[in-house]
């Protein structure tokens, strides 16, 4: 039964990766990154159950903490870029290009 969970997790991770590649809106890209983190968490929880120890759940817990901190900083950066460039598109944030 646990293999199905891992396949679901891989599927969600791939969908998140696809979203990061095809979307241009920085906030939606960020949501896709969150989806990938969630998929990893599902895999960790499944591994914990599969092997009968709780380390996987602890790792998932720490991933959640890091994701919360990451969202705060990422959204602050997006708001700062929006303030100066008046756009939330990742194509417009090319100031470091040259």
């Amino acid at each position: 039964m646990t293999t199905e969970y891992l396949v679901l997790s891989a599927l969600l991770f791939a969908i998140g990766a696809l979203g990061v590649l095809i979307r241009r809106n920085a906030i939606v890209v960020f949501m896709c990154v969150e989806l990938m983190l969630n998929a990893c968490n599902l895999a960790f929880v499944t591994f914990a159950r599969m092997h009968g120890n709780l380390d996987g759940q602890i790792i998932a817990f720490f991933v959640m903490v890091v994701a919360a901190a990451e969202v705060v900083i990422g959204l602050a950066i997006i708001v700062t870029i929006f303030r100066t460039r008046r756009s939330a598109s990742v194509d417009d944030a090319n100031l470091l290009k040259y």
Partner: protein
């Protein structure tokens, strides 16, 4: 059996919501669908003997993180749609192929790996501590205590970073109450705008007021309400008042009063600049 049904229902729902998230054109729909995926995952955690993580998932992800996402979405502008200009030609097609290829690779890798047919289950691991939460707490405060401490540094850094990034320098001194009073008297009309007219047969706020000398005050009617009245033909019977309403609509978007206020404030900053000289 119950777990199988739960899994398949939630798997279909979560994959569908995830696909909808990356393909919906409106960012708010994406956010709501992501919330749906997170709720599905919370239930899957609960099914997989992780009740604490299920609660944390709902509280932290769907509660805090999704609220933050929606908040920033409203701040940045909901209608900021994706640009359809392709900076790299054919990027979407290749990205789609890469995504599908990646999914196939990972799923095949999982399918190929040898897994124990029956999961070990967490009953033995949690029994000693007396429950899932107690067992997790024991691990966090013993084996993972250093990671736990580092987490606090991470959270403080994140909070400081958000404050630094969101901070904006104030370039000119904040106007005090004294400055505002001075600006108000400098524009020559310190009283509030005249109230709308109240007459024997009409007390709606779309009626212009009569000034003491009998003339009609256009300032007493909100411009948007006047425009609504003119467009719908709800004009007062008195031709003088109707004329005032039409005139109020034709005025420029910047009302005379705010225009005067801008002038006054620019004069004020000029005088302040002189004072600082």
């Amino acid at each position: 059996m119950g777990e199988t049904i739960t899994f398949w229902v939630l798997a279909v729902v979560s994959v569908g919501a995830a696909l909808g998230m990356i393909f919906s054109r409106k960012a708010v729909y994406s956010a709501l669908l992501l919330g749906g995926v997170m709720l599905c995952l919370a239930v899957l955690y609960a099914v997989q003997e992780a009740p604490f993580l299920a609660a944390v998932q709902i509280i932290v992800y769907t509660g805090a993180i999704m609220m933050l996402f929606l908040f920033v979405l409203m701040l940045v502008g909901v209608d900021s749609a994706d640009s359809l200009v392709e900076t790299l030609r054919g990027q979407r097609v290749w990205a789609g192929l890469a995504g599908i290829g990646f999914a196939v690779l990972v799923i095949l890798a999982i399918g190929n790996a040898l897994f124990v047919p029956e999961p070990a289950g967490l009953a033995a691991a949690t029994e000693q501590a007396g429950g899932n939460v107690q067992a997790l707490a024991r691990l966090v405060f013993t084996r993972y205590v250093f990671a736990f401490e580092v987490t606090s540094a991470l959270l403080i850094t994140a909070a400081l970073g958000a404050m630094v990034l969101a901070h904006r320098e104030r370039l000119e001194p904040k106007a005090t109450q004294k400055d505002m009073a001075r600006a108000r008297f400098a524009e020559g009309d310190p009283s509030p705008l005249p109230a709308p007219g109240t007459y024997a047969r009409n007390n709606a706020i779309d009626m212009p007021a009569l000034l003491p000398d009998g003339s009609v005050s256009e300032l007493s009617v909100n411009r948007h309400i006047a425009r609504y009245d003119v467009e719908r033909g709800h004009l007062p019977d008195d031709p003088k008042l109707a004329e005032a309403l039409k005139h109020a609509v034709e005025e420029e978007p910047v009302t005379e009063r705010s225009h005067r206020h801008e002038q006054a404030s620019s004069q004020e900053t000029d005088s302040q600049a002189e004072v600082t000289k």
